[in-house]
Structure formats: structure tokens, C-alpha cells
């Protein structure tokens, strides 16, 4: 069974990856994305040390976009089930922000679908990350092509 959730609690990735497994499957590929301590500013190249992160979601729309991603992944790839959980709220360094697990009878489509899902999630699911430093904070703007930039 597929599932997708937003949660403000810590994510148990083993539980996520096991919820997607039916008996005809042999492999689950899981992406675990987490708060990184050091990040490089894309414009200046400067390396900053992050103290913690905050994620904010447009929850109703985020859940709709996650459902669309799962539907599209199951159309394109020979996979059985997909689980996506994205954390929102405050996250300490090293805590999981997103888990995507894909179960499939064979591992190749599981890898391909998981990689496609995280790329698309970063482009289309309305969630924003704020990095908080010792001397300030910054909302990160995605560099992937979010649909329909109305200013261009």
C-alpha cells in the first residue's frame, strides 16, 4: 500500500521502508535525506555552518502533489509500492527531513523510481526550508524548475 505523510515527529526510516513491502517483492530502495551541518552558498561559494533547519509546508497542496508523484511513478516504473514522509517544523542537524521508499519485484526500477521521486519532490512539492545560522537565517529557494514561474 502506498502512503505519504507530513509529520512533525522524528521519522523512523526502517518503519517507512517496511510499510511498502508486499510478498511478491524482493527489493526496497530508500532515500534518507537529512539536515546537513555544512552547506555551500550557491551564489558566493561560501561554506556556512547550519545550527538547525525549519521546514514549512503548504500542507493541503503538498499532499496533493505527493499523490500525483506516486501516481506518475507507478505509471512509469515497474514498482509495487511507494512511501514518502516529509518532516516539517524544526529539525536538528542529522535528523531525517525526507524518506522515500520504493518496493519492487526487481531492484532496477526501484532505484530509478526512487531517484526520480526525490528529484520531482524537490521541484514540485510546496515545502520550504529555512537554514538557521549562529548569526542569522535564510529561506532557501529551490534551484530546480518549480512549475510556472509567473515573473518570467
Amino acid at each position: 500500500m502506498d502512503f505519504f505523510e507530513l509529520t512533525s515527529n522524528p521519522i523512523d526510516i526502517a518503519r517507512v521502508s517496511r510499510r511498502v513491502v508486499p510478498s511478491e517483492c524482493g527489493a526496497t530502495v530508500t532515500l534518507d535525506g537529512y539536515a546537513r551541518k555544512y552547506t555551500k552558498d550557491k551564489a558566493s561559494g561560501e561554506i556556512r555552518e547550519t545550527e538547525y533547519l525549519e521546514y514549512e509546508a503548504y500542507e493541503a497542496m503538498a499532499l496533493k502533489e505527493m499523490q500525483k508523484l506516486i501516481d506518475a511513478a507507478k505509471q512509469q516504473f515497474e514498482i509495487a509500492n511507494v512511501g514518502i514522509v516529509h518532516r516539517i517544523g524544526r529539525l536538528d542537524i542529522g535528523e531525517t527531513s525526507v524518506v522515500i521508499s520504493v518496493a519492487a519485484p526487481h531492484r532496477k526500477p526501484a532505484f530509478a523510481a526512487c531517484e526520480w521521486l526525490i528529484r520531482e519532490l524537490k521541484r514540485t512539492v510546496p515545502i520550504w526550508k529555512k537554514e538557521v545560522y549562529s548569526d542569522g537565517e535564510k529561506w532557501i529557494e529551490g534551484d530546480a524548475e518549480t512549475p510556472e514561474d509567473v515573473t518570467k
Binding site: Y58, T124, P126, I127, E141
Partner: protein
């Protein structure tokens, strides 16, 4: 005729709000609504702004209707 306009992350910080009700004339497009808001909060103009209408990404050409939900935000950065 009124619509709800939502802000998230950077756009919520810049406008100082998360939700406003906006009165609009008939046949107003989503893009016209967002241009008016950008004019009201010029700091928004230094960002690439995206919009959604009723929880779907919008091109801006859509005509908004009474009760619609329009969101104004910067490029998403989840993951």
C-alpha cells in the same frame, strides 16, 4: 468578490502575513492578483515568484473566482 491569498516561507516573512482576504474585480487573472501584491510588497520583486490557484500550480492566465485560494511563494526547497 473575495479570494484568499496565502504566503509561505520567504513570502510570509516579507509580507508579514500568512493569509489575507483580497477583494477582486470580475475577470481578474491569477497573475494580476500576484502583480498587485508584488506592487504592494516591492521586496517580493527580488525573488522568483510562483503561484498556485486552488492548490494547483498556476500559469497566471487563470481567471480567479469568488472564494478561490491563491498562494504566492518562492521556488520550493523541500527534500
Amino acid at each position: 468578490m473575495n479570494i484568499n491569498v496565502l504566503f509561505f516561507g520567504a513570502t510570509a516573512d516579507i509580507t508579514g502575513q500568512r493569509r489575507v482576504e483580497v477583494a477582486i474585480a470580475p475577470e481578474t487573472t491569477a497573475s494580476e492578483v500576484s502583480q498587485n501584491i508584488i506592487a504592494e510588497y516591492p521586496r517580493l520583486a527580488s525573488h522568483k515568484i510562483h503561484i498556485s490557484l486552488n492548490q494547483q500550480f498556476a500559469s497566471g492566465d487563470e481567471i480567479v473566482r469568488d472564494g478561490d485560494e491563491l498562494a504566492i511563494f518562492t521556488a520550493v526547497s523541500g527534500g
